[in-house]
């Protein structure tokens, strides 16, 4: 770097020292501002990553419980209604946990011995079919798929075993934070929303207020619909599976319900463990085909596509399959398995918001033009 002192020979020693001091002070200031800003970004990123999941779950829960609280509010004050709903929910959750814990223990105890057996059987099956394929098409190069499958399954098992205590801690934290956040969302949600909207400038306040209402109504319908759909599909799968001799029917039902939140791919992933266990334990027979029919025809086609989706989910939230894949991949990259599940609903939420804004603008654009376009329909 050119030294300013050398450039301007007329500078005195004191001036040069002053210039040097000012320059170094400026650089120091710049560095400290830069480091504090980057640490601020770091802090906000940490805060976001810590709060993201509890906030998301609380919002979903608040959306789910809000209609019940609203109904009760006709009789009691809002806070009392929320407490009543909390007591009821807590009772239900306790019953659910009491029912689930033995199954969970059995599942966890058996899984350590069963999982290697299932993967072994699956690998055997793959090996057999590979051999058959090789017999028929000998020119295909021998590809060590079974070996890859085995190492992949071992890695998965190790990851599950290692991560369970960690996720138990997380779940414990969520169990405290989520009810707390949900309570405040339920009680003050309207006030928080209107405080946010009131920040809008006067000229746009009315539109912002109207849009916030329309969007939040659509969102709550969407969230409620999705969660109810997942619960019903899970119940159908669990009920159908418990008619057979398959083990872990409740677990498989829960898994199918959760994966059902992901469109297109979710149901397929949801049926893999069930089919694998059925194949390994029951063999290919009447029960196995009943399970296949249950997963594909009854749960997916009949219950989900013919009954639940037309009733619960509006067509507005339909996403293009390509967008679904993007959402799953990006969500998975950002937040792992949970990101994969919530990525698609979040993209749907964004889409619903944008569509609602567009419809609103279109409805109110130029009254004369709207009247002109309405006229032929009315006649």
């Amino acid at each position: 770097m050119n030294n300013p002192v050398q450039k301007h020979r007329g500078w005195s020693r004191a001036q040069a020292a002053m210039a040097f001091l000012i320059l170094s002070a400026a650089i120091a200031c710049g560095l400290s501002v830069y480091s504090s800003v980057s640490s601020l970004i770091g802090i906000s990123r940490t805060a976001f990553s810590v709060l993201f999941l509890p906030l998301l779950f609380s919002l979903v829960l608040a959306f789910l419980l809000d209609p019940i609280v609203t109904q009760l509010e006709r009789l009691f004050t809002r806070t009392v209604s929320i407490f009543i709903v909390y007591v009821l929910t807590l009772g239900l959750a306790t019953l659910l946990i009491l029912w689930l814990v033995p199954h969970l223990q059995e599942f966890w105890g058996n899984m350590r011995t069963d999982f290697p057996r299932y993967t072994h059987q699956a690998i055997e099956g793959v090996k057999r079919s590979m051999a058959a394929l090789h017999d028929r098409f000998p020119f295909i190069e021998d590809y060590s798929l079974p070996m890859k499958l085995r190492s992949w399954a071992e890695q998965l098992m190790a990851a599950i075993l290692a991560q369970t205590p960690q996720s138990a801690m997380k779940i414990g934290g969520l169990m405290i934070l989520v009810p707390l956040f949900t309570f405040f969302f339920l009680r003050d949600g309207r006030r928080i929303m209107s405080a946010c909207v009131s920040l809008a400038p006067n000229r746009h306040f009315e539109m912002a207020h109207d849009l916030s209402y329309l969007v939040s109504r659509q969102l709550s319908q969407f969230v409620r619909g999705r969660v109810l759909e997942a619960i019903i599909v899970g119940l159908v799968v669990a009920g159908g599976l418990s008619l057979t001799d398959i083990r872990y029917a409740p677990m498989l039902g829960i898994f199918a319900g959760i994966t059902n939140l992901i469109p297109y791919i979710g149901p397929i992933i949801g049926m893999i463990p069930g089919l694998l266990i059925a194949f390994a334990d029951l063999g290919v027979g009447g029960q196995f085909w009943w399970i296949v029919i249950l997963y594909v025809l009854i749960a997916q086609v009949l219950v989900d596509n013919f009954i639940l989706i037309p009733i619960l989910i509006s067509r507005v939230s339909n996403l293009h399959p390509l967008l679904v894949f993007f959402a799953i991949i990006v969500g998975g990259k950002l937040y792992g398995v949970i990101g994969m599940i919530i990525g698609v609903p979040i993209v749907s939420v964004v889409k619903i918001t944008l569509l609602e804004i567009r419809t609103y603008r279109r409805n109110f654009r130029l009254p004369e033009a709207a009247l002109e376009s309405d006229r032929p329909h009315k006649l």
């Binding site: 509010e73 006709r74 306040f205 009315e206 109207d210 109110f364 009254p367």
Partner: protein, 177 residues
């Protein structure tokens, strides 16, 4: 009783409270104190500078405004863009009430004439209240309907009067269409 205590307990009747202002509007004059306090939490108080546009003709209309202080000019623009003043409103007046229940574009523009405090009540609030507290929302809507029907009656009388006036000049068949 010590006057200091009276002041504390009489907070609700304070002339400057929002509930007092709402109570003295013809729309809400028949509301119970409980309904008034609900309404007080429902409305939005907005402060405007002088000469600030509140809404323009054709804007999406979703509610009514009540003037708490200041004054508002209602005007329409003709084809050439010239402004035609329709009304000047003062504290206690309200406007835009027709869009409270039926979504429609604004039929005229509104602008403040001095620094003005407006109290807004919007359709979204009423719809949301109808789910939470149907009785309160129905008493608010009843008051609104009363005022709107009074205005409608006045308007139809005006139309009849104008028609009779015009009938002296034009044949009645032309007016029917």
């Amino acid at each position: 009783m010590d006057p200091l205590w009276i002041n504390i307990f009489r907070k609700k009747l304070d002339d400057e409270s929002l509930a007092y202002f709402l109570k003295h509007l013809p729309i809400f004059s028949e509301l119970s104190p409980r309904a008034l306090s609900t309404l007080e939490n429902l409305v939005h108080v907005r402060n405007y500078e002088a000469n600030e546009t509140i809404f323009e003709e054709g804007d999406p209309g979703s509610g009514m405004y009540m003037i708490r202080s200041g004054s508002v000019q209602i005007y329409a623009c003709d084809q050439s863009g010239a402004e035609d003043e329709l009304a000047r409103l003062i504290p206690g007046d309200f406007f835009g009430e027709t869009t409270l229940t039926a979504p429609a574009p604004r039929s005229a523009s509104a602008r403040t004439m001095e620094s003005t405090e407006l109290v807004g009540l919007f359709r979204a609030d009423i719809l949301e209240l109808a789910e939470r507290k149907p009785s309160v929302s129905s008493s608010i809507l009843l008051g609104l309907t009363r005022v709107v029907s009074e205005r409608l009656q006045a308007a139809s009388q005006e139309i009849r009067r104008l028609r009779i006036q015009a009938g002296e000049r034009v044949s009645p068949g032309n007016i029917e269409t």
